[in-house]
Symmetry: C2
Subunit: 280 residues, 2 copies
């Protein structure tokens, strides 16, 4: 099978690597609007050939959109205009606005909205790694709007990547990821900014970071190109999640202010349950 | 040298292990008010003998207090009452209230206030590991109030543990750790609670946690016994840090509400600088 990966960053690049190594694709075309990234992806043998978007669409059986979610919304209608029978999927961290943008398109059934929940805090083709998706979860959304063979192909791809596949509506997806992924990133960006504002001497941050700070701000290294459009597109759900999060911080603040050690203890014990849930 | 470690959890237990393996101590006595933990520390050969607090003080040349910080404040005056020439240190994550509690004690110069900045999210003697402190930073506070030989002994201990030693006042210590350690924990506890409140089906949290959530809530597994008294003792600095953190979250919330993608992008790029600082 010939495939094209549009967007050769961490996610698209990692996916291209394993889809080639694991014989899902025999030829991988790559599209990237940044010529430096495109050349790097070619040099790193992540893709076989760099092509334009239209060449990629024409030459491929399967089209994978791995761009930031704002770019996905701009190019997806164009891609669906150009395809004949090809199948298209995207890998973005928001789903509702994306499926809405092509809901009346005559080729709607060829586009499978998906989201592989995996990543690292790094970005660009040099960050692409084999095995990134193994054992993680991929979400397919609104598949009742797809051709069956389109869904089968996307499932086959995620099986090749050793992912657990779950299905849900695009709107539920966006609520869940607001809590489980998007506010984690916001809390991490905010924490990094707070500490950098206060600690004028960066040496202090470096010296003292072993106190748990490093893991909490790991996500603060994440790509601005990827995350800023996610926050805008999943606006409504993120604002609700963020309000709930700020409420919890305010509750803790009041307990700390009142020296209420017993209630703080109870709340920490409740929070500890997350360990059991994640180790299931 | 004979030493006693009071409190045989993650920190005390890990320290006892390396101080024995690396020949700092030839005999390690252990004190723990939880008999199950005490027996476990003995079975795991973390300590040579379990003794009472008073026996430990009497039999040892060097006394290490590795209890939660509220317990440290209750036992420290008693320990200083009982010692003759022994040196005492503590390992707690707050310093100002602890040094205040013994500032007029005739044996004040024998007590070196210290804080090894290392840990994991686990607790108890079974979580104790060799090498926990290697390459991390230990802070010594207010050492102008100590006998020189007391400071030398504590430095020798942290050198044995391969730690980088820095010195500062107890009050600066408490400001820095409020930012670099304590609010990381609060943000993590609050995030875990927010997600558990919303996601009624725990299976969803488990399935979706690969989206960066797991590293951000790692600290939410931390011990309530250890952390609740820290939040109360470092109250004043934590409230300031927490207010700054909530302000940052509110700023981001307004930008997200206003779909201000350019400013969100700028803010994320600013937050990304934490990566460079931590990799120095």
């Amino acid at each position: 099978m010939k495939i094209v990966v549009i967007g050769l960053g961490l996610i698209g690049g990692s996916m291209a690597k394993d889809l080639k190594f694991r014989f899902f694709a025999d030829t991988i075309f790559g599209v990237d609007n940044n010529p430096v990234n495109a050349q790097l992806a070619l040099d790193l043998k992540i893709v076989d050939e760099i092509v334009t978007l239209d060449e990629g669409i024409e030459k491929s059986d399967f089209i994978i959109i791995a761009t930031p979610v704002n770019a996905t919304i701009s190019i997806l209608p164009h891609i669906l205009d150009k395809i004949s029978n090809q199948i298209v999927t995207d890998l973005g961290s928001t789903k509702e606005k994306i499926v809405d943008s092509i809901k009346k398109h005559p080729k709607r059934k060829n586009f499978v909205a998906s989201h592989p929940m995996a990543g690292t805090e790094f970005s660009g083709p040099a960050a692409a790694i084999s095995g990134l998706f193994d054992g993680k979860t991929a979400i397919l959304c609104d598949i009742e709007n797809n051709h069956e063979h389109a869904v089968s192909l996307v499932k086959y791809m995620y099986n090749t990547l050793n992912m657990n596949i779950i299905e849900m509506s695009a709107s539920s997806h966006d609520v869940h990821v607001a809590y489980v992924s998007h506010i984690s990133h916001i809390s991490s960006f905010a924490l990094a900014l707070t500490v950098m504002d206060i600690e004028e001497d960066e040496k202090n941050i470096f010296n003292l970071a072993s106190g748990g700070f490093e893991s909490t701000v790991r996500l603060a290294k994440s790509s601005a190109d990827m995350w800023s459009p996610i926050f805008v597109q999943n606006n409504k759900n993120i604002l609700t999640a963020l309000n709930n999060y700020i409420d919890k911080l305010q509750e803790l603040k009041i307990l700390i202010k009142n020296h209420n050690i017993n209630e703080i203890h109870n709340i920490i014990v409740k929070a500890n349950r997350i360990g059991e849930i994640l180790n299931k």
